[in-house]
Symmetry: C2
Amino acid sequence: MLHGMREDEEAGRVTLAQVAEEAGVSISTVSKVLNGRQDVSRPTRSKVERLLEIHGYRRTPKSAWEAPLIEIVFHELDSIWAMELIRGIENVAKDNDASVVLTESGTRHAPDPGWIEGVLRRRPLGVVLVFSSLPPEVKQQLRSRAIPFVIIDPAGDPEPDVPSVGSANWSGGVAATRHLIESGHRRIGIITGPEDMLCSLARLDGFRSAMGMAGLAVDPALVAFGDFHVEGGRLRAMEMLSRPDRPTAIFAGSDLQALGVLEAARLHGLKVPDDLSVVGYDDVALARWTSPALTTVHQPLRKMAEEAAQMLLRLRAEESTATRLELSTSLVVRSSTAPPPAGI
Amino acid sequence: MLHGMREDEEAGRVTLAQVAEEAGVSISTVSKVLNGRQDVSRPTRSKVERLLEIHGYRRTPKSAWEAPLIEIVFHELDSIWAMELIRGIENVAKDNDASVVLTESGTRHAPDPGWIEGVLRRRPLGVVLVFSSLPPEVKQQLRSRAIPFVIIDPAGDPEPDVPSVGSANWSGGVAATRHLIESGHRRIGIITGPEDMLCSLARLDGFRSAMGMAGLAVDPALVAFGDFHVEGGRLRAMEMLSRPDRPTAIFAGSDLQALGVLEAARLHGLKVPDDLSVVGYDDVALARWTSPALTTVHQPLRKMAEEAAQMLLRLRAEESTATRLELSTSLVVRSSTAPPPAGI
């Protein structure tokens, strides 16, 4: 085993020398590129990167690192999820005497190009990315430096070649809807998330299936797409509640949207849950603190982050070639749901 | 200037050698202790630490650091403040091409002893601590390694010899109370935070002063101490609202306590703001999302964190010997306050 590891290292070194020769630069220049150093010209860097990619170079992971780091990267730190995910990473880091490096960067789809330089300099144990996808060159750069990475993808749209952790959105949609049906509701509205996110569609499909299984028709006027924020929930709910045939219950698609529904109900003079039942999704901390406390679908965000960090450490130890892990969701019944008003 | 810096460095080196000689160890052992390395026996480490302290040794800061880090340490990451503070640090880090290392450690009063080892190994640009105080040995360890540190102290009880950032709690208490008085309220209750936190007392004193200035008596039955969490607010409000001479307005001392007051009002069948006005404190994100949206005192948490990080960088550049910085608070009027019900 030890002998095998030395062989790997030597294989690595040979490739490094080959890359240097092919690129017409010194080995130390190739090494600088690998370490994200700035004192290499841009054209040389691109040439070396390209050759590293062609040769599929992989650095031997450092065995002992003095100040081990686990990185987590968000495109939007403001997200109400962010703290739960940070908690999960922090828990695993603590157990492994590592620290957590936090970065906000890029768009929903990928971190900024400059981000990778910092990661290469810091050489963390691994990187957890809260993004739906990663540009191929970023994947290659991380792979060539033997830095494991995992995507946490609550949006449910991961790339097949990247290890990722998600949760069961469709089942969550079914559970929320079934709870309302079992409470006696027949006229149920849904405000799901944006139309271009797979998780929104999965929750909506779960809703449709639960309605269908109960023999209930879905009124297209009671299906709306929100923005996963309070305002989207409020606007869509204001429309639905203005109808003469308003729903007796709304599945709000996210806890923030549910807050918007609560506000719309208040503005319409409707009491929750007496006049209107509301179900959220996510079970973020504030779901316990709304008035009334929110019945919601628990998405195990902290657990998802813990699993992602554990996956990193297993990938690093080459104990796993993990792909997609999907954690289950569960309904949490609080005080925002009740049977429909009598006579409806 | 350059010559002066070299002299400082040499002075540092001499002390390092002196420490080694006095301790009867090699210079490299002293250096290992300074770098937080584990391969030094505990008695040797203590001896070296003691001598470093006696001699007031200060390492010359590294001028160029390849992967600059700013650290932030919390004792309670769950706090609803945490994300705002992280945002502020992240903003400054981004502007300075640094990354943020996040640690949860210790109690309200100090991080765990083991935490310092990691910091010494990572050698960050500086450390922001969200704690009220720091043990003397931690201060000495950070100072001897030339790692600047600043305390963010929303509790308002900083130590005099540590640079810190806080906000104006007393003025916030005055502003909240004046707003209620100006809306026509006379019977006003307050639920402030825990009795052993200076910020709770400062807000309460602000309340008393505003009442006094308006010639209004403070009914001791309407003064309560909470826990800065939802449950404390709910319990204290349930008691106040059960009184035959219940208040027409409650200053809730924190946004979480205000959520508890909203729930207590709902359970008493009271409408906010028609039957009861409520003012929060902090202006965390969810204050905009409650039903109705919360009138509250804005505590500039993000700005406080930005100032703390900037202070670190100035301390590092030796451009400042900052002490206490107190940012102002301001009232944000939303929908949870109105004139008292007619006839009261």
